[in-house]
């Protein structure tokens, strides 16, 4: 099992969610976050005062998938979240040691 963490542009969330469901993802966790990478924010001007807004709004998607699905999930996110412009986000993949479904006590890939 792998934990896939993807940060994407907020307006891409619905498109990515639909594509992931079609690709076999059975659930996901979504958080509204702020952060920066290469995009490194923007400036806002209020009358004479200029402020650097370093952290830009993003959406973080986390999902745990069986090993067999990892490649297709990553390529699905990559394809749907992409606009080609700076700030499209990043995808991280981590190993997951165990998963438990609270209701039934199932473990491993069965719990996903």
């Amino acid at each position: 099992m792998k934990l896939i963490i993807a940060t994407i542009k907020p307006f891409k969330l619905e498109e990515v969610r639909e594509a992931l469901t079609a690709a076999g993802a059975t659930g996901m966790m979504v958080t509204e976050i702020k952060g920066y990478g290469a995009q490194s924010g923007h400036t806002e001007i209020y009358r004479g005062a200029e402020y650097a807004v370093n952290f830009v709004p993003k959406v973080r998607i986390e999902l745990v998938v069986a090993d067999a699905l990892v490649e297709s999930i990553i390529s699905t996110i990559e394809a749907t979240a992409k606009t080609g412009k700076i700030g499209d986000g990043k995808i991280f993949v981590l190993n997951v040691e165990e998963a438990v479904r609270v209701r039934t006590g199932e473990t491993g890939a069965d719990a996903l």
Partner: protein
């Protein structure tokens, strides 16, 4: 607000003047239409403060200081109303013949009852003195409330209330007397100030500048993110200000007639011209027209038309509003940044600068050749000189007394909250509550 007299009907100068309660004479008539209009105008000016100005300012501060600004506007309004009844009305319009104050004649509204009448601009037409007192009371209340924007987010609440009490006593009441009372110094100079550009806006603006300088910048000024927490509420407040301003300007005519109509249309056109001008200037200067710019232009235009509303034409008003936007835009950007003081919500930059442009512009756009109602003998040069004199006197008197008051209060009780309170935000530190619970 009575300056209109000297232009439209010089004879009226010898007649009854607002603020002078007159004995009921057989020919004095009270028009119920006028009375109704003045009652509505009075409430419109109250709405300018609460919630208009309070929200306009509140939206511009950080969310941790939202309630402090609302609270300051609310309590200042209440305190000035009480003081106005105790002695403020008397000091401004008490019937005294000195050029700088109205005396003790009407302390606690002595001698005023429901049969007392105040003059309007028309010979023999009167309104109940209680209405005039209430109308002028709202003007006295909004002026110190305007000042709080300069030192928002760091002022100590108790120090602010002491300042306002002393300031209305030593600055507002005397200046209101000087400009609006028939015995007043600036009134007799012939200065034009229809609805209070000098008394209210320049006066508040210069006091604000002094306050910002004495109290010093906010912690983190120029470094931390201090963007407005709700531009939405700021526009709601600005919109209420605009609507309320019709009471301020058209109400200053004291009668519901053509003069009020002129002030009304000017309050539309100058503001529209100013909003458009600010948006165009911003678009050209930095490629984007901002809502804060539009709201700032709105207030700048309203401030500028205030002294001029009764004497310029609707087209001249558009030009005056646009010029005010240009002046204020330059002031709140490059000029203010150069000096480095922290007039947090640009009270001087909008009310002071807009007020000065309006006061001097009144001397120009009142000219009949520019669509104003000045007579054939109207001289732009001499009127502009008188206007400038009134501006300078207000700036010097208001600036000096305000500066001294701020310094004295700072020494006596401290103007600012401590650093921890400022970082925490005044809502919790000074008032023990929070604006938002999400």
């Amino acid at each position: 607000m009575k300056r209109k007299l000297s232009i439209t009907s010089p004879l009226a100068l010898f007649c009854l003047l607002p603020g002078t309660a007159m004995a009921q004479t057989t020919e004095a008539t009270m028009d119920k239409g006028d009375v109704a209009w003045m009652m509505v105008s009075t409430l419109l000016v109250l709405m300018m403060i609460l919630p208009g100005l309070a929200l306009f300012y509140g939206g511009l501060v950080r969310s941790k200081n939202m309630l402090s600004v609302l609270m300051q506007c609310t309590t200042i309004t209440a305190m000035v109303m009480v003081v106005w009844i105790f002695y403020g009305y008397s000091f401004a319009f008490g019937g005294g013949t000195g050029p700088f104050w109205g005396g003790f004649g009407k302390l606690f509204l002595a001698g005023v009852d429901m049969n007392s009448m105040s003059a309007t601009f028309t010979d023999g037409v009167v309104i109940p003195e209680y209405v005039f007192i209430a109308f002028q009371m709202t003007f006295a209340a909004i002026t110190p409330a305007l000042i709080v924007g300069a030192f928002a987010e760091r002022i100590k609440f108790s120090a602010l209330m002491v300042f306002v009490l002393l300031w209305i006593t030593l600055v507002y009441f005397p200046v209101a007397h000087m400009v609006w009372d028939e015995a007043g110094y600036l009134f007799n100079l012939g200065a034009l100030d229809f609805a209070g550009g000098t008394v209210v806006h320049i006066n508040a603006g210069i006091a604000a500048l002094m306050g910002a300088i004495v109290i010093g910048p906010r912690i983190g000024f120029g470094k931390d993110m201090m963007a407005p927490h709700s531009m939405t509420l700021t526009l709601v407040g600005a919109g209420i200000l605009w609507v309320g301003w019709f009471g301020f300007n058209a109400g200053s005519n004291l009668e519901a007639n053509g003069g009020a109509a002129l002030a009304m249309i000017n309050t539309f056109t100058a503001t529209a011209g100013a909003i458009l001008a600010w948006a165009v200037i911003e678009s050209l200067a930095r490629g984007k027209a901002s809502l804060l710019g539009a709201a700032s232009g709105m207030v700048a235009g309203l401030v500028a038309i205030t002294p001029a509303a009764g004497s310029v034409g609707p087209v001249g008003a558009i030009a005056l509003g646009a010029i005010a936007s240009l002046g204020c835009y330059i002031f709140v950007g490059p000029i203010k940044n150069k000096f480095g003081y922290d007039d947090s919500l640009d009270v001087f930059g909008i009310h002071g600068v807009g007020g000065i442009i309006g006061a001097i512009g009144t001397g120009i756009f009142t000219a009949p050749s520019l669509g104003g109602i000045g007579g054939a003998d109207f001289s732009i040069a001499s009127q502009t000189w008188i206007q400038t004199e009134a501006v300078v006197i207000t700036l010097v008197w208001g600036g000096l007394v305000s500066f001294i008051l701020f310094k004295l209060i700072d020494v006596a009780m401290g103007l600012r909250v401590d650093e921890e309170a400022e970082r925490q935000g005044l809502d919790q530190a000074s008032h023990g509550e929070s604006a938002y619970h999400f």
